[in-house]
Every structure is written in structure tokens, then in C-alpha cells.
Amino acid sequence: MTDVDAPPSGGPAAIDAVPLRHPWRWVAALVIVILLGLFLYGAATNPAYSWSTYREYLFNERILLGVVHTLELTVLSMVLAIVLGVLLSVMRLSGNPVFRAVSWVYLWIFRGTPIYVQLAFWGLIPVIYRKIQLGVPFFGPTFFHLDLQSLTIPFLLATLGLALNEAAYMAEIIRAGISSVPEGQMEASTALGMSWGMAMRRTVLPQAMRVIIPPTGNEVISMLKTTSLVTAVPYSFDLYSIATREIAARIFDPVPMLLVASTWYLLVTSILMVGQFYLERYFSRGASRKLTSKQLEALAKAQLGGIP
């Protein structure tokens, strides 16, 4: 007796077709390799690049210090910007009209003026306000005191300047992410007895992350390079300032120093891109109906077991 549902033993042979040829791919590749070769040859033989200077300064102590400062500026200002951005976007979407207005005005000012101008302004804060004190006015005690004439202030001001500007952009990215989550999600959470804040935190924001992460990765990479503008504060110990203002100006050779700075920016960016890849993968869980390799294996096993 034969079972009609069972696949015929062996089945048809797998298709063995001649693959389609793509000659133009090879031509394009050849042209590009030739052009690249010419450029590399030119760069290697042109004395203006002064590769010996490049090699000498690539791992220079001051340069490495600049890298560290640039990373510090990037991470600190980005963390601050994200926290403030979440706050601003939630305020913008909340039912409270005062919060909505404050958030809108903030966005209007910080997104509407150039970052360079803002940084210059932050640099002038010590001139406008000589010190900051928190306490009871007149005869009361002082709880907090900050002397704006101190030497560590430029770093603080640079971080704040970058963060407050970036927060405006982050707020818009996060707001777009929150708006991308279907309304039914908030509704289902509400129907389960969650408060607005809890539903935001547990249901909406985690789903918004999938939309928020890619542009935020862009912003981090962009921030890494925007740190070179802190020279407006003026803060002069970041990678770009040290490479150009300090070293290139001293040795009268800007080209290799720009290459040194570029190499480090590129390296850090590459590391950030890897981090972004893993973050995106984590927050996209559940977004696709594609099965993991583990689940596929289990299904295939079940299918094999089902056939007598």
C-alpha cells in the first residue's frame, strides 16, 4: 500500500544550471583597482604627505591623550544628551501643556542656532557669571559652590555645550521612535492596569528603540567629530586641537597631522559601528517572524520525526 501524502523516495534531482555571467562587474572592478593603484603610488611618493612624520606622531603621547579626551567628550555629552532627549520627548508627548511648551521652546532655541555659536557662548559663561552658588539668598547657608574661573571648567562647558545641543536632536529622534509604536500597544498596557509612565517605560520605549538606535548611532559618530568644534569654547585638549593647533603649528607640517587625526577618528568610528550592529540586533528581537537557527533546527527535527 502506498501513502499518497508521502514524498516520492528521492524526489526530483536538484537543479544544476549554468550561472548567469556578469562581465561588467569585472570591468568596473578592474578600472577601480587601476585608479586606486595610481592614487596610492602618488601618495606614497609625494613628499608633502611626509609619511615619516605620520609614523612618528601616530602613537605620540599627546595624540593619545587627545584621543582619550575626545572619547570622554563624546561619551559624556552623548549620555547626557540621550537622558535629556528622552525627558524632552516624553514631555513633548505628555498631556501636560506646560511640559509640552517647555520642550518645544527648548527645541526651537537649541536646534535653531549653530552649535559653534552655542559653544562660543558657553565659553563666555565664566565672563557673564563669575561663580555659581546654590543656597538661601542673602544670609543663608550655601549648599553648592562652583568657581567658574577654575582650570577644569572648559571641559565641563564643552561637554554641556555639546550635550544640550545634541539633546534637541535626540528628542526628535526619540519622539519619532515613540510615534512609530502602534497605538494599540499603549491601549493594551492601559487595559492591563499600567500607568502611563509604566506603559511608556515597559511597552512603548523598548519597541521604539528599534527605530531610535540606527539614527542614534549616526548621532554618536557625528558627535565624535563635532567634538573638534570645542575649540570655540576654547577647549584645546581634544584630538583635533592637539593634532593641528598644538603639534602641526609647532612642526609646520599640517598634512601628516591631519592624517594622524583622521586615522584615529576612523578607528573609533569603526569600533562604534560594531557596537551599533549588536545593539540593533538586540532591540529587533521579536520584530521578525524569521526563526533563529536553533528554532529552525528543532522544526526540521520535528519534520524528520513525522515522516515514517
Partner: protein, 253 residues
């Protein structure tokens, strides 16, 4: 004994649009009320008023003797704080047409979310209860699956389990089978039928007349924001009195 739901002249309008124009009904404990009517008749809006997803404009709506959405102080009504409204919703389960499962959480994580976050149930307790509920809806092997990996019928059964995890005293179903392939409708109705026989009070908006006839204790036909006809489902379905009911039933049956 107070009825589970008591609606007195419930009205709801969105701006100038009047969707509910005075709905009065009662649902006893352990009863299943089936709401039917053409789209735009206000049946879903009424359902959403019961757990305060929509705020009632006029009339009174009580669940288990508690006024929904407002505090009564003397003759004045005070709008309820979001916190108190959330507390009221805890005891009212809701199942949506489009499931609205949390796509970033597995089936089990969907179910234990509210008990843990809202009620503060310990994790192992919530998980044990969650697995038990998954078993009840016939999905004990899908605990670790994400919603996108489940069929519509399976998703809706997880959604029912999720609502049941809060131990509600009342369950609201908003067209639970309307978004499903025909062959998947049965498995969801089966779960609902079981729930009804276990004594759950249910309000079901549906177009499944077979379900209404078999499980419903009371059938309410709404049109244009008012109740046109109500009564025993078998009686109303086989012997409608009103012209509008007859016209509607002739189209769906």
C-alpha cells in the same frame, strides 16, 4: 446581589459626533452578554467605556457596584486620577481585535508582565501561573515564541491568557475573531466557551452568531448608538421583533 455591570443611560460623543445615545443594560455575575450590530453602531465604544478607555459623557456606568471613571462626592462627580482609573482596570480584562500583544516579549513574558509590574507578583509565582494559563489555552509549547512567530489564532489565545493573568472579574472581548482566518476562528471561540462555562462574566462584541446562540445568556442588538432589541439569544436570533434587527440578521446569517 449587585450586577457585575450596570449601565444607566450611557452617552458618549466625540466632539459633535454622538456615538452612544443612552445605553441602559445590566449584566449579572457569570453571565455572557453578546453585543451585535452593524459597524459604527457604538458597540465597541460601549465596550471601551466599561474599562474607561473612553470617558463617559453622560449617564452612569458601574462595574461591581463601583462607578467607572468618576468619584461621586455628594451630588458632584469628580474626574478620577489616572492612578485610580488604572486600579479599576486591573480587575477588567480586555481582548482586542488585533491582539495587541507586546511584540518584543515572548508569549510567557507577555502574560507575566502585568502581574509582575502592576500587582508586584514574584517572578516564580507569575511564571508558574503563566505556564498554567498557556496550558489552559492549549499553547504550553509556545511559551518562548515571540508573537510574530505565532498564527493569529495562537496570538489571540495568548492575549486571552494575558488578560486572565490579572485574575479579572470581568472580561471584555472586542471582535476577538474578526481579524482571523476562518479556520482559526474555532480555536479562539473554544477557549472563550470554556471560560464561559467556568463562570467568567463576559461581554463579547462579535459577528459569530453561532457563538452567541450557544454561549450567550443575553444578546443585545445595537444600531445608531442605542439598543434596538435585546433578550435571550436563541429567541432574538430565530425570532427578531424589530425591523432593523431582522434586516441586520438576514445579512450576517
Amino acid at each position: 446581589m449587585t450586577p457585575m455591570v450596570r449601565a444607566e443611560q450611557v452617552c458618549k460623543s466625540f466632539g459633535a459626533l454622538k456615538v452612544l445615545k443612552g445605553v441602559t443594560l445590566e449584566i449579572g455575575r457569570g453571565q455572557v452578554l453578546v453585543l451585535v450590530g452593524p459597524s459604527g453602531s457604538g458597540k465597541s465604544t460601549f465596550l471601551r467605556c466599561i474599562n474607561h478607555l473612553e470617558q463617559v459623557n453622560a449617564g452612569r456606568l458601574y462595574v461591581d457596584g463601583d462607578l467607572i471613571g468618576y468619584r461621586e462626592r455628594g451630588v458632584k462627580l469628580h474626574e478620577m486620577s489616572p492612578r485610580d482609573a488604572a486600579k479599576q482596570r486591573r480587575d477588567i480584562g480586555m481582548v482586542f481585535q488585533h491582539f495587541n500583544l507586546f511584540p518584543h516579549r515572548t508569549a510567557l513574558a507577555n502574560i507575566i508582565e502585568a502581574p509582575m509590574q502592576v500587582k508586584g507578583v514574584k517572578r516564580d509565582k507569575a511564571v508558574a501561573r503563566g505556564r498554567d494559563l498557556l496550558d489552559q489555552v492549549g499553547l504550553s509549547d509556545k511559551a518562548e515564541a515571540y508573537p510574530a512567530q505565532l498564527s493569529g489564532g495562537q496570538q489571540q489565545r495568548v492575549a486571552i491568557a494575558r488578560a486572565l493573568a490579572m485574575d479579572p472579574k470581568l472580561m471584555l472581548f472586542d471582535e476577538p475573531t474578526s481579524a482571523l482566518d476562518p479556520e482559526l476562528v474555532g480555536e479562539v471561540l473554544e477557549v472563550m466557551k470554556k471560560l464561559a462555562t467556568e463562570g467568567m462574566t463576559m461581554v463579547v462584541v462579535t459577528h459569530e452568531m453561532g457563538f452567541a446562540r450557544e454561549v450567550g445568556n443575553q444578546l443585545v442588538f445595537m444600531d445608531g448608538g442605542v439598543i434596538v432589541e435585546s433578550g435571550d439569544p436563541r429567541e432574538v436570533l430565530s425570532n427578531p421583533k424589530q425591523e432593523r434587527t431582522k434586516a441586520f440578521l438576514s445579512k450576517v446569517m
